[in-house]
């Protein structure tokens, strides 16, 4: 294998398909990243400001050129404002995804969303009760309508606080109240963040960053949490299921359809259409043995969690998957969809379909999905994919898929433990499991593809730290073979014993990136069971290869919720040492957790293990020197 491809990705399928893409003259994200070098230092430092048109402004990091923007904002204010706007954009993205699900929930209640249904009435009742709705004797459909209305209120300004905030431990809620960051409304906090960062509003870099914490909480305990809970109500609570991963999940002799994006509203309907007997018969008639649906990115994770649908790859694999020439159709909704995909697909027979009224892409055919017509549209599109099978040229599917188990919701984890988190706590107290880490986030061409995720996960499990993952990390870890029960052989003796007795892998897949809220629910349950705050727990978060604004927001709500989080790539904040110090040290005194930045996963593993042992010591548990 060409050394240059081994330098870009640790994955075999990625390396082989990079060679194929080069042969086919397909430009990839890595080439575009190379072409962007050197990237602008002002922007990388967070020292450029494009907020108003007295500017654009830059502050000279060497101290000789301009030290203030035209408005008078110094490095601290400019860096803080830029970071705050990233948090607002990330919160807006996840929360808008949640809003789309609430609309489907309302549509189901009103009978205007054929094809969708309430799959889990028990969860509907449970969540409705949390919203203070009297569920007694109510039929699911009217109850769904009431819950949808109540959730819509969470998006507005009629509430004093977002409803699901009450899921957090009392100590955490008291802390948020004391420092004034209890989120009031989902859209409200994002709007206020944008307002505050307008020229001439909030120019206290500390107060700006506090609002960023509140804004992130409005996503983590608001929009994202609603997205996950309503998805469970509409499509079912995930339960462990076998699946397969990597590009080898594509089938030579079947019609291959890939869903890409984030919202299960589209992908669930596509899955349903793929199982239709008429379309399967049509596929046979056209010479294919079946219809093979696979996912990339988070909408794939949503299907994997609930149906065991295989995953062809994560963020940096999305172009390469198309270069197999084996994909009849890729359907996208929104978020993390590279606008280059249409150009890549044009080299092959692949049909590219955009489905969301809010997301269009060059080189894609736009076929909008709405709850009223989604079921019908899905059947039409899958039929077109089947008919496209005849146009397939030579294909290249160079690897065999890897087995994995996905679909661990909090409900099923607690179920597997016998209905209570006690066994997990006992294992932590006994020191068999040192603690837990949530490894989440994206891929970024700045870090060798999947190296950060896989290396960090490996080092943590071999040192008896239980790992839960979501999003693009979950695909990396599954490809690395961490997601089968036999993977306990790679775990330390304590973790091996505990996971072995439960028959679970040492790395648990908790879902898509909105599903990071499942981690919040899990740590809240652990904290409540111990009678402590989240920040007292021997847990940590990490985003070894993050790239997106959504990841900034997730990291921020982790930290604001008390989970210390280690980032791989440096966020654009180094231009202000005040902001760096606040985020990496000062926040400890504010929310009991901080950020750390460490691109090297070997060192990040040490930081996390040291943090976990420190928390164990403070809880009076046995602690190791790391």
């Amino acid at each position: 294998m060409d050394q240059k491809f081994e330098d870009l990705t640790i994955t075999k399928d990625g390396q082989l398909l990079l060679a194929k893409a080069e042969k086919d003259q397909v430009e990839t994200v890595w080439e575009r990243h190379r072409a962007q070098q050197p990237q602008c230092g002002y922007c990388d430092l967070g020292l450029s400001c494009r907020i108003c048109v007295m500017g654009p402004c830059r502050v000279d990091p060497f101290g000789e050129g301009p030290q203030k923007g035209v408005c008078g904002a110094d490095a601290d204010i400019i860096v803080a404002r830029n970071l705050c706007r990233m948090v607002a954009a990330g919160a807006a993205s996840h929360s808008d995804h949640g809003r789309d699900l609430v609309e489907v929930l309302e549509g189901v209640s009103e009978g205007t969303a054929p094809g969708y249904q309430i799959r889990n009435v028990e969860k509907l009742q449970r969540v409705a009760a949390e919203y203070g709705i009297d569920t007694a004797g109510k039929d699911p459909l009217p109850l769904a309508g009431e819950l949808a209305q109540a959730m819509m209120e969470d998006y507005g300004m009629r509430q004093k606080q977002i409803r699901l905030v009450q899921r957090a431990p009392q100590k955490r809620r008291d802390l948020w109240k004391k420092i004034g960051i209890t989120p009031r409304g989902i859209d409200r906090e994002t709007s206020e963040m944008m307002h505050r960062t307008h020229m001439g509003v909030d120019n206290g870099w500390q107060s700006l960053l506090l609002q960023a914490l509140r804004n992130s909480l409005s996503d983590g305990w608001g929009g994202s949490m609603i997205a996950t809970e309503v998805s469970d109500i509409l499509f079912g609570i995930p339960a462990p299921k076998p699946t397969t991963v990597n590009v080898g999940v594509l089938k030579e002799n079947q019609v291959n359809i890939i869903v890409h994006g984030h919202n299960p509203v589209v992908s669930e309907m596509i899955l349903k259409a793929c199982e239709s007997p008429e379309l399967l018969a049509l596929a046979k008639e056209k010479g294919a043995e079946g219809i093979n649906l696979a996912g990339v990115c988070c909408t794939g994770n949503e299907l994997l969690m609930r149906h065991g649908v295989p995953m062809a790859g994560n963020h940096l694999m999305t172009e390469l998957v198309l270069s197999t020439g084996a994909v009849e159709m890729m359907l996208v909704d929104y978020q993390c969809i590279m606008p280059s995909l249409g150009t890549v697909a044009a080299c092959y027979h692949t049909k590219m379909i955009s489905t969301s009224d809010k997301a269009r892409f060059p080189g894609m055919e736009h076929r909008e999905f709405h709850p009223e017509t989604a079921e019908k549209m899905a059947v039409e599109l899958v039929k077109e994919a089947v008919l496209n099978f005849a146009n397939r040229g030579r294909t290249y599917i160079p690897v065999e898929p890897v087995n994995a188990i996905g679909g661990f919701s909090i409900e099923t984890i607690v179920g597997a433990l016998g209905g209570t988190p006690e066994p997990l706590l006992d294992a932590i107290k006994a020191g068999k499991i040192r603690g837990a880490a949530g490894i989440v986030g994206c891929n970024n061409p700045k870090i060798k593809h999947d190296y950060g995720h896989v290396t960090l996960t490996k080092r943590l499990i071999e040192n008896d730290v239980l790992v839960v993952d979501t999003g693009c990390v979950s695909v990396a870890n599954a490809k690395a073979g961490f997601k089968v029960p036999e993977a306990i052989e790679m775990a330390g003796p304590g973790l091996k014993e505990v996971c072995g007795s439960l028959g679970i892998p040492p790395v648990l897949h908790l879902g898509s990136c909105v599903d990071n809220v499942r981690i919040l629910v899990l740590v809240s349950a652990l904290a409540d069971a111990l009678g402590v705050d989240i920040s007292d727990l021997p847990v940590a978060g990490s985003a070894p290869e993050w790239y997106s604004e959504k990841a900034v927001t997730i990291g921020t709500y982790f930290v604001a919720s008390g989970v210390t989080t280690v980032l791989g790539p440096m966020p654009p904040i180094a231009g202000s040492m005040n902001v760096v110090k606040l985020l990496t040290q000062g926040l400890k005194d504010v929310v009991g957790a901080t950020f750390a930045v460490e691109p090297d996963p070997e060192k990040a593993a040490l930081i996390i293990r040291r943090h976990i042992e420190g928390k164990r010591k403070a809880l009076g548990l046995s602690a190791l020197d790391v």
């Binding site: 990091p61 700045k446 950060g452 440096m570």
Partner: protein
């Protein structure tokens, strides 16, 4: 005499110098209108990416003796004795690329230019903004550089400053002096990412 000096350790890679250079060598010399010109103006300073993706503004050194001048059989390349600037006469240039082969720094490009006859591809490189200097302005790349990676000054001043910097760095007990803690932190993070 003032000259353009390059201080690579201060380059943040923003490439503002390239935009300013192309604009300064356009017909209209305004960014927005320059973008609508034919031919599109091109920069004569080129920011390269180093081993760690750090920027480096690569521009003509106006060598003395200049290999490009020696290699130019058409006698299109000459030195402005007053400014010590090596210039190319676009009317005489025969687009043979001998100058580019001789140039040790790879700063000569070939394309149409606002100063050349319409439709003629010629050798183009830094002219030290001779037009701007005649108007009392400093070179465009220096004017736009916010981090002082490019300066326009007497070479004796620049050498004295550098001599003092070196002297301070070898003072007994001196700690490593960081020009900018912020930039050093970013550079360290980028190096760590790349070394994986």
């Amino acid at each position: 005499m003032k000259k353009v000096m390059v201080h690579p350790e201060r380059c943040v890679g923003c490439m503002q110098c390239m935009i300013a250079c192309a604009t300064a060598h356009s017909k209209t010399r305004q960014l927005l209108t320059a973008l609508m010109e034919t031919p599109l103006p091109k920069s004569r300073v080129h920011v390269g990416a180093g081993l760690y993706n750090e920027g480096f503004p690569n521009r003509c050194r106006h060598c003395e003796p200049a290999p490009c001048m020696a290699a130019c059989l058409a006698n299109a390349i000459f030195r402005d004795p007053e400014k010590e600037t090596v210039l190319i006469n676009p009317d005489k240039c025969i687009n043979c690329a001998s100058c580019a082969m001789a140039c040790p720094y790879g700063v000569i490009r070939f394309h149409e230019d606002a100063t050349a006859p319409v439709g003629k591809t010629v050798a183009v490189k830094c002219d030290n903004c001779d037009q701007r200097q005649m108007e009392g302005l400093i070179p465009a790349c220096v004017e736009v550089c916010k981090s002082n990676a490019l300066t326009f000054e007497e070479s004796t001043d620049a050498m004295k400053r550098k001599t003092d910097e070196v002297a301070r760095s070898v003072s007994r007990g001196a700690e490593e002096i960081s020009l900018s803690p912020a930039f050093s932190l970013l550079t360290a993070a980028k190096r760590a990412q790349l070394s994986l």
